[in-house]
Symmetry: C2
Subunit: 351 residues, 2 copies
DNA sequence: CCGGGCACCGTGAGCGCTCACAGTCTCCTT
DNA sequence: AAGGAGACTGTGAGCGCTCACGGTGCCCGG
């Protein structure tokens, strides 16, 4: 009742220090026998600091266990040190697709090495979208990595409107403001695979394409057509409803129905290919004996199927690296260009 | 040379406003004809605010597009509004395991609905670990969700030392300070599966256990033993090196070698089971004809294998929900208890 | 008719940092 | 020997917010 308030006004400083969370720059400065300004200088770059005071400050920091208060710093610099990783996808995509996990992981590691944090945000419904926008506008993040598979994503344009640097992973929306993107060469990869199937002796080629509103769905089909020219019979192209296993099975069933004597199929994603493999198996077709199957992504699942999937490898860690590089450039005020990274063929047993 | 500095000191306010990023509370207050204090009150709770000024402030906010500066707020409240999601794992785990992705996604969504952000952090090496600790100590996050599969993770103890609320997903380290955790009932699940295999007629049961330093590796094996009692022959237990497909294949090969007449195998994770299935297939054993195979996790891959995997389902979204609930309680200063959630059997074709 | 209570409101004092500026001190040039 | 160019350092003024405090006005009981 009597000891919970400092008795003397003069002891206020000490009391404050006692209840305060951690040491401040001021404390460090005092111990090191320098001023706030000098401590600040060693904190950012340490230019124009004598080696004597540098050492003193370092020692004082060590001794006090000082860690800089990022909020205070952000308040004045208007930089947050964080970037948002925005997933503009139907909610269950992340569950199924290991590709995204890898991307995220690599970005996090790369950003972390730069002392930056990665904030994960979903944008699967209007509420979430609004939150992302609010976040960006509020300056809580210095930049946004937008992973959007869908063309003409309204979020991309809206985000662009906030003035926050944005780089898109996948493909820039065909319409709307242009902003830098990083993507794997889907079309080239599809060409690679189609040609490979041809080289392996396929004569009755079919394809399971991805949804039409995704770059993968458009570009990979385009690559398939590039190689085959006009020689694609009716019924040899079926579009999957989504990128899941179920969708792949359904599409393959449909293909088997409409184009029964196929001897090879290019499937627009590994996950889809898993479903296709199941449908093929159920139909009694042997892979690769009766039909060759080529996938796309080289996701972790590709080597787990039976038989292991011949597929197109997306240079995922390179995509991640370029993604953060481009974003960092953007944040630094430069104007990096978009990048398309080459894909390559990974031969396994399915073709 | 002459027009880049304001001519009159008196115009400074206006110039500042022009170059300033966004409207501040002060601006909103001015427009609404009230004071900063009132604006602040409507921002947090709006108690003791007349409906007239409430409306005026709301309108002024709308009109100016005001969004609160979180850094300034954090600076004084010492709360950041973010929580860290720390992955204490070898780097390639996330690539392979869809379970983590789902957990992350659900946590992000749940946290987001509370207006909180989720910061993804890796802790796969000492550098990263140090970064996490630094982050926690710096008060950049209000709490930490530590996903740690390894027992006695030094990070858990270190994190506990920072005073930041921590909840562990998986299992609390047996040693060290006790902190709340949320886990699925691994042991119970393993019992469930083992009993099921027995009920299906298995007589020569074997198991591929997870690494010994993981709760999954310990608890699931314990559950297996619970049911079988002392009746487990030599060679019927093989420990996988890791949780990957390769490791599963290797372990199954070893089992086939040391315990050739097995008629059922309980594999400690779906990913491991994928490898096991491959090894079995390569050895010419049919599943489930010759040997029954049971997995664990019910990850997305379980329905993609051939045959689809009978497995134990972890209530992932419930784990996520409890995880954030417990953390939020902790942050609020309460003392929630740990939770263990029931698992269930999912019957597919492999057993 | 006056004093006290209550709902509402404005104000000042910071939170811990950065940045520009104004010193100080040393050393080199002319 | 005077002057200036650096190198180094300290200081003040905020960044935009919250929180405690001290006013107002108004209504009610005595």
């Amino acid at each position: 009742m009597s000891d919970d308030a400092p008795a003397h006004p003069k002891s206020r400083g000490a009391a404050r220090r006692a209840q305060r969370r951690g040491p401040t720059m001021e404390d460090v400065a005092e111990i090191a026998g320098v001023s706030r300004g000098t401590v600040s200088r060693v904190l950012n770059g340490a230019t124009h600091v004598s080696s004597a005071s540098l050492a003193a400050v370092r020692e004082a920091m060590r001794q006090t266990g000082y860690v800089v208060n990022e909020s205070a710093r952000s308040l004045v610099t208007r930089r947050s040190g964080a970037v948002a990783f925005v997933l503009s996808e139907p909610p269950d995509r992340l569950f199924e697709d290991p590709v995204l996990g890898g991307l995220m992981r690599t970005c996090t590691a790369l950003l972390g090495a730069q002392g930056r944090g990665l904030m994960l945000m979903l944008a699967g419904n209007p509420d979430e979208r609004e939150r992302v926008l609010h976040f960006a506008r509020g300056g809580h993040v210095d930049g946004v990595l937008l992973v959007s598979m869908h063309d003409g994503d309204p979020l991309a344009a809206a985000l662009h409107g906030t003035g926050v640097p944005v780089v898109i992973c996948g493909r820039a929306p065909a319409t709307g403001p242009l902003m830098p993107y990083v993507a794997a060469d889907d079309r080239g990869g599809a060409r690679l695979m189609t040609q490979y199937l041809l080289d392996r002796g396929a004569r009755r080629l079919a394809t399971v394409a991805g949804p039409a509103d995704t770059p993968g769905g458009v570009e990979r089909l385009a690559g398939f057509r590039d190689v085959l020219g006009g020689a694609v019979p009716d019924g040899a192209i079926v579009r999957a409803e989504a990128y899941g296993i179920e969708a792949g099975r359904a599409a393959m069933d449909q293909l088997l129905h409409g184009f029964p004597d196929l001897d090879a199929v290019f499937v627009a994603s590994d996950l889809l290919a898993v479903g296709a493999l199941q449908a093929l198996h159920a139909a009694g077709r042997r892979v690769p004996g009766d039909v060759l199957v080529g996938g796309f992504d080289d996701s972790a699942i590709a080597s787990a199927t039976m038989p292991p999937l011949t597929t197109i490898r997306q240079p995922l860690s390179q995509v991640a690296a370029e993604l953060v590089e481009v974003l960092l450039e953007l944040i630094a005020g430069r104007h990096p260009s978009s990048r398309v990274l080459p894909t390559s063929l990974v031969r396994r047993d399915s073709a």
